[in-house]
């Protein structure tokens, strides 16, 4: 009995979809716009995220060690820093490497090289470059380093103070501003996306409601001949889901040439994300989200719209 009803409901849904072609097309057009908005917001979010990621990577702090500090102590401090939960990665450059780099950079400048020889020994400091997982965490890392930093008056090592300076204070304001910008742009992006999605969903809902309004007499007749509520509602829900399904497929198809065209431009944009590659790599995810939301919006809209005419 249930199987029979399900078969009949499905068949009626397909037939109605086909016979009310004009209504179906207009409902699908609106659904297409809704889903296109959703898809575009997803791409926009991806661009925003990759830009933010790149900005974040540009933020770091450099720790300069006293020339008198022994390498083994520096390395043991590095290990401690590596173990901090906020730290993403550290890169160490020893004094020798620093000197080598310096020489290489100035290999054509005899004057500088001569001056270096004059000084004798290695005047350069070892540097530890620290990257945090999140820009807001530099403050905590800096606070951890504080006991290791020598006071402004004495330039020699006492009680394990092996750090000459860490350039956090110089970067402090810019790091803080950047953190704020990142956080607020993310909040703003989410808020705008949610509002746009709600608006476009309501428009899609309204269109389906109007489409079903034209069937209200039909629903009244179905009730009179003794059809159960589920049997009346079923085909409309199938029809609504089909609007969603076809609109989502259509949107996925139009994104292909659109992104193929936009892709190279977006790659040149800040963030360097090629949207076409992103589309291809995340196709399955996009497919599931767009088809899923299309079908759900269509089905729920139909369900609610028919309910109105069933309750009387």
């Amino acid at each position: 009995m249930f199987k029979l009803s399900a078969q009949r409901v499905l068949k009626a849904g397909f037939v109605n979809f086909w016979r009310n072609a004009f209504v179906s097309v207009s409902a699908m057009l609106v659904m297409t716009i809704t889903l296109f908005t959703m898809g575009s917001l997803m791409f926009l979010g991806a661009v925003l995220n990759s830009s933010l990621l790149q900005i974040k990577e540009k933020v770091d702090i450099n720790i300069y060690f006293l020339t008198s500090a022994s390498e083994s102590r520096i390395l043991s401090l590095k290990e401690t820093i590596d173990a901090l939960p906020q730290v993403e990665s550290t890169t160490y450059r020893s004094r020798e490497e620093a000197l080598e780099n310096f020489k290489k950079r100035n290999q054509d400048d005899q004057l500088v090289l001569q001056a270096l020889d004059e000084l004798g020994g290695n005047p350069l400091e070892a540097v530890l470059n620290v990257r945090a997982k999140d820009p807001s965490q530099y403050e905590a890392i800096y606070n951890f380093l504080k006991p290791y930093i020598v006071g402004p008056t004495n330039a020699t090592e006492i009680q394990g103070q092996i750090i000459e300076k860490a350039n956090f204070n110089q970067n402090k304001t810019s790091i803080e501003t950047l953190t704020k910008v990142i956080n607020s742009s993310r909040t703003l992006g989410t808020a705008i996306s949610i509002i746009l999605i709600i608006i476009s969903t309501l428009i899609a809902f309204n269109t389906i409601r109007l489409a079903i309004y034209s069937s209200k007499d039909e629903i009244a007749v179905m009730r009179l001949v003794g059809a159960s509520n589920m049997f009346i509602r079923g085909p409309f829900i199938v029809e609504g889901s089909m609007y969603g399904l076809f609109s989502a497929l259509f949107v996925l198809i139009i994104f292909y040439p659109l992104l193929y065209w936009i892709g190279p431009y977006s790659a040149g944009f800040f963030g360097g994300l090629n949207l076409f590659t992103y589309y291809l790599h995340n196709f399955l995810e996009l497919f599931v989200i767009l088809v899923g939301s299309g079908v759900i919006i269509g089905a729920i809209s139909s369900f609610l719209a028919v309910r109105k005419y069933l309750s009387a």
């Binding site: 009949r8 039909e218 007749v221 059809a227």
Partner: protein, 226 residues
Amino acid sequence: MIYYDNVSKIYKDDSVILDSISFGIEPKEFVSIVGPSGAGKTTLLKMLIAEEKPTSGKVFFESTDVHNLSRSDIPRYRRRVGMIFQDFRLIPNKTAYENIAFAMEAAGRSDEEIQSDVPHVLELVDLADKIWHFPHQLSGGEKQRVAIARAIVNQPDVLIADEPTGNLDPFNTYDVVQILRKINDLGTTVILTTHNKGIIDSLGKRVITIEKGRVVRDDAEGKYVL
């Protein structure tokens, strides 16, 4: 079989549509309800199919109080009552065949039954050649005959006809009345409302006259008297 027990319908603005109406209908009876427009005929019929609730009083179908049925029981109950209307009320985007098949599908009948019964019942109303026509391709009389076929296909105990000839020419009116008589002869109770004096006088069946919400006459072999 059907019993209206002291039924009243009063709207919120105190307009009285039905005023303490009581009468009974026996199985296999053919009852006509007549009265001027606004007398409450349609309201009376709507109460029988649980479309409208009485303000006071009860409507019984056999031993069940129609307005005590739960919402989920109403569809099942309605399948025992066939109904036709002045404006036909066919589903516009379904063919004649599908309109009738829908009533059977809703009642959970098997595909085999549908395939054998629908052509049969269309033959009964003399429309076997228009089986795949949509309502907009049919004339008024043909639409009404499809509606009758749909109403009787589930073999209801009662057929309610609410001014079924109101939109039809005399020739089609005669046809429809003949079909209703035939259905009644086959053992289905028929309740008919109409304004057509000719129909009532030619039927020679029971006539209940309603005026201003009250039963003013109830004659076993009535005429249209107003």
